[in-house]
């Protein structure tokens, strides 16, 4: 692995100048479809301005393309290092395309440091960029342990794949055909019959402005430094004196976006016939360079001349090689601890390919006052499970290999299992953070009706006077797409479900459970000075009650008795929790 700094990028020549004044220092998203980028199957491939569903396969062929392959052939590229501050952190609440994901993505939006702004694209800062100029870092939930997820305000260093998000061309403005200028277009075929019956032969689409987003997707090495809080010097998260807790996760195994098989551009027919699962072609070898990053420190106490205290804890999975971490205090106006995870050195002859670390750093004898709090989450109350009355596709039973065989009444051949396909989809998936410390709420896999699921989650928090307590949930009510299609190829989907039921399952996306995002400021941080209990309902989201039969919960009109409509109210759950000052 050759990790490059932004300044050394060959694509520096691509920087936009003048055309988009407001974004003069960022990379032009139109380069995603330039002939140079598309050489050897690289780059992105847009679709017609009026595509059918089948046409959308083009957008995932591949779904992510390297911005710059350098000296490599696509899909290979050299990793880049990006630095920034986390602006938001959540799961992809609406679901990802399942054919190239093993699980949903965790999405971390970072406000990129000015020195790294060349990684940001015009699409990120355009009106199509809901990222408001930031850049998204995505890694599959199943390949990203919770201890290393970040929260708002945390510092971020990531090494990984700098890509165009090819699934979202976001042409704005659309182009016009070269002669028939009243005809809008995205690609040249929009300027010919039958899309444009009046167009002249040979017309091309001109002036289209694509707004592909650039992303770090996936990062294979992540360091998240939690600043402005207090932490104990321990492997487990707990409050303590002012300190910075940095959590590190390194792994080449990052799901679909890191696998060469899924990232290789091919024929559309190949998309439906190629079997990439189980994924066995990771794009990177994480052991070819060390992972380096700086850890910010809390404000230095007046008169303190000692170097900081630094403790390193290993979080690697059992049995994995545990590489050393060197830490060096770099004094100055903004002192930091420079950390290096020694990935290039083998450990007892073994490569360190799956690494977790936690580093806690703070000033010795720092007596700056902090408020210690405990947040106890006692229950989640499901007010509306957000389940359709009629499943997207009826329940069917098929053998795992002999997929044409119905196993509802006849046993499968030896060695095969009988799969349940379609039918009702129970379950919610909810992740909850307190200031960037994430937990997945257990016990939600069977949610199918209104219920209260007890929880025993506690957060131990320490906040300085100017700090705040941020509680935030990110989740979804699972539907057919999440529960059935992830981690398997389109070829497998077609074999199991067929085209019609496969499309119906794909269209049955997870439901929005509404937002839970509250912040408590000092001096009591929601504790009332002692202990305060809350039952906070989510706001917005899907679901409601039928217009007349108001006892009937619904997702859409079809869930209601004849003639009634579903009146969407959102607010599908309440979280019960207590904030206690310790």
């Amino acid at each position: 692995m050759r990790v490059r700094s932004c300044a050394s990028l060959a694509v520096a020549v691509m920087l936009v100048a003048g055309a988009r004044d407001a974004a003069a220092s960022v990379i032009d998203s139109n380069l995603a479809v330039s002939p140079a980028t598309q050489a050897n199957g690289g780059g992105c491939y847009p679709v017609s301005i009026a595509p059918g569903l089948l046409d959308m396969l083009t957008l995932i062929n591949p779904e992510w393309a390297a911005v710059d392959v350098g000296a490599h052939l696509p899909p290979l590229s050299d990793p880049v290092t990006m630095h920034g501050t986390i602006a938001s952190s959540k799961i992809n609440e609406s679901g990802d395309f399942p054919g190239d994901h093993v699980t949903d993505d965790q999405n971390t939006l970072i406000a990129v440091d000015s020195a790294d702004m060349a990684f940001v694209s015009t699409g990120n800062v355009s009106p199509e960029g809901v990222e408001a100029g930031n850049l998204e870092v995505e890694r599959e939930i199943g390949k990203y342990p919770l201890f290393a997820w970040g929260g708002v305000g945390d510092r971020f260093t990531g090494v990984g794949r700098w890509i165009w998000d090819c699934g979202h061309p976001l042409q704005d403005p659309a182009g016009t055909c070269s002669s028939t200028m009243t005809q809008s277009c995205a690609v040249n075929t929009d300027c010919a019959p039958p899309v444009c019956p009046t167009c002249i032969a040979g017309e091309t689409c001109v002036g289209v402005d694509f707004n592909y987003h650039s992303e770090l997707h996936p990062p294979h090495a992540i360091a998240v430094s939690r600043v402005g809080k207090g932490y104990g010097y321990s492997k487990k998260v707990k409050g303590g004196p002012p300190a910075t807790r940095t959590d590190v996760w390194i792994s080449a195994d990052s799901g679909g976006a890191g696998d060469a098989c899924l990232l290789t551009h091919g024929s559309l027919g190949a998309l439906l016939t190629t079997e990439c699962y189980p994924l066995t072609h990771p794009l990177v070898d994480v052991t070819t360079s060390d992972f380096e990053f700086d850890i910010p420190l809390p404000p230095r106490p007046a008169g303190n001349t000692q170097p900081p205290r630094v403790r390193v804890f290993d979080q690697s999975p059992k049995g994995a090689a545990r590489p050393k971490v060197s830490t060096t205090f770099v004094d100055g106006p903004t002192p930091v601890v420079h950390a290096v995870v020694k990935l290039t050195k083998t450990v007892n002859g073994k490569k360190a390919t799956l690494v977790g670390k936690t580093i806690v750093a703070g000033w010795r004898h720092d007596t700056t006052p902090v408020t210690r709090l405990r947040v106890d989450v006692t229950a989640i109350e499901i007010l509306n499970p957000l389940k359709a009355v009629t499943p997207a596709i009826p329940l069917a039973k098929k053998c795992s290999v002999t997929t044409a065989q119905d196993c509802s009444s006849t046993a499968c051949p030896a060695g095969e299992t009988c799969l349940s396909l379609g039918g009702p989809t129970p379950g919610w998936q909810v992740f909850l953070e307190a200031n960037g410390a994430w937990t997945e709420l257990p016990g939600l896999g069977a949610v199918a009706s209104p219920s209260t699921v007890p929880q025993t989650i506690s957060y131990d928090v320490a906040l300085p006077a100017g700090g705040s307590l941020h509680l935030h949930a990110s989740g979804k009510s699972l539907a057919c797409l999440e529960s059935q299609l992830y981690g398997q190829s389109l070829k497998r989907d077609l074999a199991l479900y067929g085209l019609t039921n496969g499309a119906l399952c794909l269209a049955d996306m997870s439901k929005d459970i509404g937002a839970f995002d509250v912040t408590y400021a000092g001096p009591d941080f929601g504790s009332g000075g002692g202990s305060t209990t809350y039952a906070t309902q989510s706001s917005g989201g899907d679901g409601g009650t039928c217009s007349t039969t108001m006892s009937q919960l619904c997702l859409k009109d079809a869930d209601c008795p004849g003639g009634e409509t579903c009146v969407v109210t959102g607010g599908a759950f309440k979280l019960h929790y207590t904030i206690t000052k310790k």
Binding site: G52, N92, G498, L499
Partner: protein
């Protein structure tokens, strides 16, 4: 009659009046309006994709086209057909990861 009732009544009359003449363009322009509804759409077959005994094909009506999935083989490319089927729209949102998938139709009948 309250103004809101009048407006709703007018809208219903408008939809009812167009019930037999919804076009592919109408569906694409407002997928959520037609989501779950059974309609008849007329157009020309293009880019058919047989998948086992099933098929997918694009139904074109002027500049607009919609994908139809069928539990049977596709009609010949280039033929004009009227397809009866149920519209399915993808839910969208303001998340950058939301896929901008267009609606599709699950065929329940076809003429010729």
């Amino acid at each position: 009659m309250r103004l809101s009732h009048f407006v709703i009544g007018l809208a219903l009359l408008t939809v009812a009046g167009r019930a037999g003449a919804v076009t592919v363009g109408d569906v694409l322009a407002s997928p959520e309006t037609y989501d779950g509804k059974t309609l008849s759409l007329t157009g020309t077959i293009e880019s058919a994709l047989p998948v086992g005994a099933e098929s997918g094909y694009n139904l074109r009506d002027g500049a607009a086209r919609v994908t139809v999935v069928s539990r049977t083989a596709p009609p010949p490319v280039g033929t004009q057909v009227t397809v009866t089927g149920t519209v399915h729209a993808f839910e969208g949102g303001d998340d950058p990861e939301d896929k901008p998938f267009p609606p599709f139709v699950v065929e329940t009948g076809r003429t010729p």
